[in-house]
Structure formats: C-alpha cells, structure tokens
Amino acid sequence: MRNPLSDKVVGIQPSGIRKFFDIVSEMKDAISLGVGEPDFDTPWKIREEGIYTLEKGRTYYTSNSGLKDLRVEICSFLKRRYGLIYDADEETFVTVGGSEAIDLAFRAMLNPGDEVIIPQPSYVSYLPCAVLADGVPVIINLKEENEFRLTGEELLSAITPKTKILVLPFPNNPTGAVMTKENLQEIADICIDKDIFVVSDEIYSELTYGGKHCSIASIPGMKERTIVINGFSKSHAMTGWRLGYACGPNNIIKQMVKIHQFAIMCAPTNSQYAAVEGLRNCDADVENMRTEYDRRRKFMLTKLRGMGLKCFEPFGAFYIFPNIAKFGLTSEEFAMRFLEEHKVAVVPGTAFGDSGEGFLRMSYASSLNNLKTAMERLEIFIKSLN
C-alpha cells in the first residue's frame, strides 16, 4: 500500500501538552492547575437561552458568516469595550471558536514561503496552523525581563523581506502578559512601515486586571492590516459551545468566509443564539468572573513571591508564570516531579515554546481551596529541592 499520509501533516509535532494530560488523567486525586479554561459554568442566562432556542426548534444552519443579530451584537460589543468600529456584514463573521479563525486567517493570507512571526511562549496552535497553510514560522523568544511583552527591537530583528504576518497573542496564554497602548504603538509603527499584517488573538481581552485591554486595531492605520480574533470561550465561560469570531478588512474576511463556507458551513446555531444573550445581558456576569480571577491572581502572586520564587505580575488571562530556573531542573522535570511527589499538575513552560524553559504555567481558573493546597504543596516541594 502507498503511504496514505501527507508529509506536511506527519512532520508536525503533536502538542507537548498532550503527554502531560495523559499522565495527569491517570491520577484521580491530583489537583490540576493545568486547565486552560474557566472553572465557572456558562452564566445561566446564556444556558437558558440555549435551552429556549432548542425548544423553539432553531436547529437549522445559519448563514455562513453567522446570525445577523450576533454579528451586530459583536460589533456593538467591540465598539463599547475597545472602541473598534467594524461593519457587521462586510467585516465580521462567526467561527467555531477562536482557533478556527486563527487557522482561516493563515490559510486566507499566506502564499508558500511567506513568513509568519510568532512570539513565544504562546498558544500551541499558531505554529502548526502556519505550517499547514504553507507559511514559514519565525519565532521571537519573548523575555522575562520585558515581562514577556513584544518589543519593537525584537520585532525588527525578526523581519525579513518575506515577512507577511505578525501574530500578536495578548493578553497572553501562558504568561499572562499584556501589551499597553504604548507598546502596541511601537509595534504598529513598524508593521505599517514594513507593510506587515497582524493577526491579533484577543481571546482573553475581557480578562485584564488594573487596566482595560487595548486592541492594536484601534491604532490609526492598523485596522486595514489587522485581523482581530476573539470569542466567547474565556470571557463568557463558553469553551464547549465552540464560538468565536474574526473582524478585519473585507478583502481578507471574504476569503476567510470562503474557506469557512466549504469546510465548516456555519458555527453551531444553538451557540450563536445563546451568545447573543451573552453579549446583550451578561456584562455583570463577565465582571463578576473577572473580579474573582483578580483575587485569585493576587493570591497566587503573593504566595509565589512569598516562597521566594521570581515571578512577574501578570495583568491578563488567568495564568501566572513563575520562574523556577534556580532549582536546576528543566521545566518538564520540575512539573513531572511536582506531579508525582505532590500530586499537583502544572504545565511546563516549554509546552508553549522553547523560551518557556525555566517557567511553569499555573492556571488560577480553579477554586481558592485548590490554589491554596497547591501552593502549600509547592512550598514543601521547593524546600525539598534546596
């Protein structure tokens, strides 16, 4: 028989997080700070709307770009929260989670050999999606001393004549880093000057602490060269509903919708109706979750620093990224021993790129009791290492 497989697909490394998941899921009584999704249930208003929609028999396809009501609500949300102005018909469409939008953006924009700049540590799907779209990933290793922000200098050093897309993953998973308006202005100036497009993954935009999220698309001259990707998974605790969206210039969105139309048809109808309710009536629920995360964030920061770990203050998402390099173990060794000896799961920073070496991702999307127990065990563990 001939080799049934695509060399391109076979050549892609499976996610490093998978191996860890297999081990943790064998351990029934482990506390996991390894979860990349909210621990809150979807607000009841949204779930109720989902139920109501099913009762009404709204079980058909929607248009390829998604329910008009939802697109209108998305645009009004982006305007009231971030000052972004998008047309609901021409510049906005609904996807199956933010992850589909990432994939589509690359596929719609890249020609073979085009370079995609990916700052790391970052979410695991940018690199394989870029490769699958025949792009060439160029990694920027973000630095702890810059609080894992992307600097203009770093960006300039990665740009070549072949650079087409910069991926901007902020607020960042796994570091919790955010970009301020000033940081973004510096990046925007370079993108405009070098004629580079930006795929801005803003899925954690509602989870920022101590300052409102700023989207690079709100900077003059950037809207026409930016695809903004967002969704409901993190802000509205709707991961399982699989619902995201992309906004951007019509010429790019049109091509993204074309792929979406043939590959997916439309995002789940039930989820779309539920999300309309989420954007219309759930600002207070989102605020309550953010407040709760913020308390846990401060708790974790205080505890980690209190036990002598170097840890920059994260201002976004629900992750904290302590530095454990001083113990002389790799991130993976540290995480593995911590799991085996103390039954707490954290994710090695290296699952998000080589520059995550020396760090751990701890998710504080977990109850305070869990966080507290995990921190007590961590303190015992690191004492045993000294």
Binding site: F21, V35, F299, L301, A345
Partner: protein, 160 residues
C-alpha cells in the same frame, strides 16, 4: 479595601486573614485591623454557617410571616419591629414595601410550636393588625448558594 473584604467574607467567613490579605495584595496587619474596625462599627455583625438542616436528623421548621401593623406616631415601625425581633424564636425581621409591613422569619421545632407562637405572642400584639403564616417546605438556594448540589470539576485536567 473595605468593600472587597466584605464581598469576600460574605461568601466565605471561614477564610483566614493571611489568605484574605494575599487575595487583596495588602499586608496582613492592615487587613486584620480593617476587619476589627468593621466589627467594632458593627458593619460586620457576625459570622454564620450555612447549613442544610434537611440533611440532618434535626427537626426544624421555618415560617415566613407577613405582618400588617399600625405604625406609631414618632416611632414609625421601629418600636413594633423591636417588640417582635426581641423574641428569640424570631430569626429575621424586615420592613417591607407593598401589601404588608413586616416580614418575620421564625424558626421552631414543629409546625405547632410556630403556630402557637404566632397565636399567643405575635398576633395579640396591640399594633399587629393581621398575620399570614407561610411555612417553608424546602430550601433550594440560600445566601446565593445552591444547597443540594455538589459541584464536580468535569473539565479535562490539562488543556492548552
């Protein structure tokens, strides 16, 4: 800081000061001090435990009584409210807007005990015009907490 402390304590009065201080990013002493102040000012009036008595062998009935009263010149409803809330059987008294004046919550061991309290103590009070007693049959949710549901974390243990 006060409102945040109160918001956290209201949901979990068992939290210790060290954890509370960590959550606020404030020094422990400052938080302890603030709590002491609020206790002194009677902003914090007590620390209670939310119990689902239905799961115990304890016999307990709760009644909600709608009470209409005649307010008194100069005192409004306060004087009559005081005469009612001083009974140890009375768990809560609220002044209401709408069709009646006071909500009185009463805890007792049996329906009869509660009914007799209403008949012998509450209804005969001079200012009380009428009472209407409603017994609680089941508590589903109290103080923002669903009583009979154990929350399980059904998420996958590690996800990107």
């Amino acid at each position: 800081m006060r409102e945040t402390i109160l918001a956290i304590l209201e949901k979990n009065s068992k939290i210790n000061v060290a954890d509370l201080a960590a959550m606020l990013g404030e020094p422990e002493a400052a938080v302890a001090n603030e709590i002491a102040e609020m206790e002194k000012e009677h902003i914090i009036c007590g620390y209670h435990t939310l119990i689902n008595w239905d799961k115990t062998s304890e016999e307990k009935v709760t009644a909600l009584i709608e009470v209409k009263v005649t307010p008194q010149r100069g005192n409004g409803f306060d004087a009559i409210a005081e005469r009612i809330y001083n009974y140890s059987e009375v768990n809560a008294v609220y002044l209401m807007s709408g069709g009646f004046d006071l909500t009185v919550m009463i805890d007792g061991k049996t329906l009869k005990e509660v009914a007799l309290f209403v008949a012998n103590k509450l209804a005969p009070l001079e200012s009380v015009l009428s009472t209407s007693t409603h017994f609680v049959l089941k508590k589903y949710k109290d103080h923002g907490t669903i009583l009979d549901v154990l929350q399980n974390d059904e998420r996958m243990s590690v996800t990107p």
